[in-house]
Amino acid sequence: MGNLFKIALRNLRRYKRRSALTVSLIGVGVTFVLVFVSVSGSFKELMISDITDSYLGDMQIHRRGYVAAIESLPLNLNLTSQEASRVAAVLQSTPEVSAFSERIKFGALFSNFAETTNIRVNGVYPEKEFGVCPQMVSRIVQGEKSLAALQRGKILVPELLARGFNTKVGDTVVVVATNKDGSVNGKTLLVSGILASVTGPGGRDAYIHLEDAMEILRMPAKEVSEIAVGVKALGQVERAAESIRAQLGPQAETQQKPGFEVHTWSQLSPFANIARMIDVMTFFIKLMLIAIVLISILNVMIMAVYERVREIGTIAAIGTLPRRILSLFLVEGFCLGSVGAVFGVLVGLGVIFVLNLWKISFAFGQAQSLTLSPTIAPAEVVTACVMVIVISVLASVQPAYKASRMEPIDALRHV
């Protein structure tokens, strides 16, 4: 086999310019795929973590039917204290879960005593909320960047609202809401911070302490609209969600057991569609790579067979078996693909390294100066290489077969 490789490499070196051009073409294709995968992957991760770590959490648990009616923030679909405790027990026993935060979500009127507008408010326990959404702190653009910003009696106001109402840290505002029985109540709160907006629904909500929310809504006992859950790694979200669904039991609501619904970030955020679009684009980029490799190798191998007809006749005449001739040309295709893949990987990793040094920043939605840090998983590199090599060998099959089927007497007469 080693000798076959030696002869194949010699044959490729015979047409230096053509082989170099093919290797370069494959290399450029591999480089492009690796850079695209790493940059788009980095962009996706950045966006997902911007959404999940800022306000959404990696998944959310609600009473069944809540998400379908989420626009109206229905208070009659809240989980009771016992139900929330049951969910909390399940979450604590799920190893993938790193933190969870109970939220009361409600629609309210926001007034600075001069103007009034609608607002969506989240009542949360700050230590739990900051555990699930660690980027909450960095979203506080003005005011105290700590748990103290959400102590009782304080409110974090979304940036756009603060700008429109000219609200500043230290101002006093009133939040008025209707509870599920229809009675209206209000509470005066101190603005402890201004919260930067983030992409997606929920990225422009106000935050208060959960007990303040209970007070405004006149809840005699704790109720929870949703439980936001953080997992240890983004890749574990689906597995954790499955495990939690299984532990929470059947989805059907009964007298004794309410139906819960567990949604992952991708089911809740419209960015999931963009992420899917990026995946589709990556797939098409890989298809383009396959086309480049297929056409390049096929072209080179057809030319190689055409130019070496007499030589094929000679090696067949001296007794080389057809399968050895087939192997020889397949190995040539394999070598071209392998060298191209290695070349592409080296250049691709180099480009990714340079991009990391360069620190490309961009704005997305309300988020400013997001910095890309492209990385590539070893599995992606291996997949690209294997794909290129397999396609190279497949592209060589037809010319190699043709060479192996040549009649030596005809091949020797070829001029």
Binding site: N3, R14, G313, A317, I318, G319, L321, P322, P408, I409
Partner: protein, 192 residues
């Protein structure tokens, strides 16, 4: 021997299992080669027959040593040690030991044909077929090549069958067969 079109090449192709007779049977080295499949014919050639071509047909990317080695690697799959011993012996026999690392393009016509003869002999065939092996060589070189074939035939006890137009080298062969219009006109033993 025979004029152009008399069937010299066709006969060699038939004996060498490169072509199949349309009728009758053909036995080479005790085997009816007219019934061999494509694969069996290739295997038979690899074991029993060596070829020397008019235009040498050396593989341009391989050195003289590697060209001779080629059938041992690709056809007989011999171990490296055995390959080396056989090749060095043959290089010595054809007087090319000092040229073994040269590529075909660096060799003269006569040297190329010496390498081609060594390549034909390296598998230790029972028979070497040479179709006009001296056609592309000047007379002096042609004569040397024929003498070399004769010498190797005596040393290695391998039969050589070659076709030629060149009457000047007839003196070096043992039997001359003449073909006319595809038929054997006669065979004659010479004093060679």
């Amino acid at each position: 021997m025979g004029p152009s079109g008399s069937g010299k090449t066709t006969l060699l192709n038939l004996i060498g299992c490169l072509d199949k007779p349309t009728g009758g049977s053909l036995e080479v080295a005790g085997v009816d080669v007219s019934r061999l499949s494509r694969h069996e014919a290739a295997a038979f050639r690899g074991e029993n027959i060596g070829f020397v071509f008019q235009s040498f047909n050396l593989i341009p990317v391989l050195t003289a040593f590697e060209n001779i080695e080629y059938p041992l690697v690709m056809v007989q799959e011999r171990p490296a040690g055995e390959r080396r011993t056989r090749i060095l012996e043959l290089l010595d026999a054809v007087g090319m030991a000092d040229q073994k690392n040269k590529l075909p393009e660096q060799l003269s016509g006569g040297q190329k044909q010496r390498v081609a003869i060594a390549r034909a002999l390296v598998t230790r065939p029972k028979l070497v077929l040479a179709d006009e092996p001296t056609a592309n060589l000047d007379h002096e070189t042609a004569y040397t090549i024929i003498k070399l074939m004769r010498k190797i035939k005596d040393e290695l006890n391998t039969a050589f069958i070659f076709s030629t137009h060149d009457t000047r080298i007839i003196g070096e062969v043992e039997v001359v067969c003449t073909l006319e219009d595809g038929r054997l006109a006669g065979c004659e033993e010479t004093h060679g």
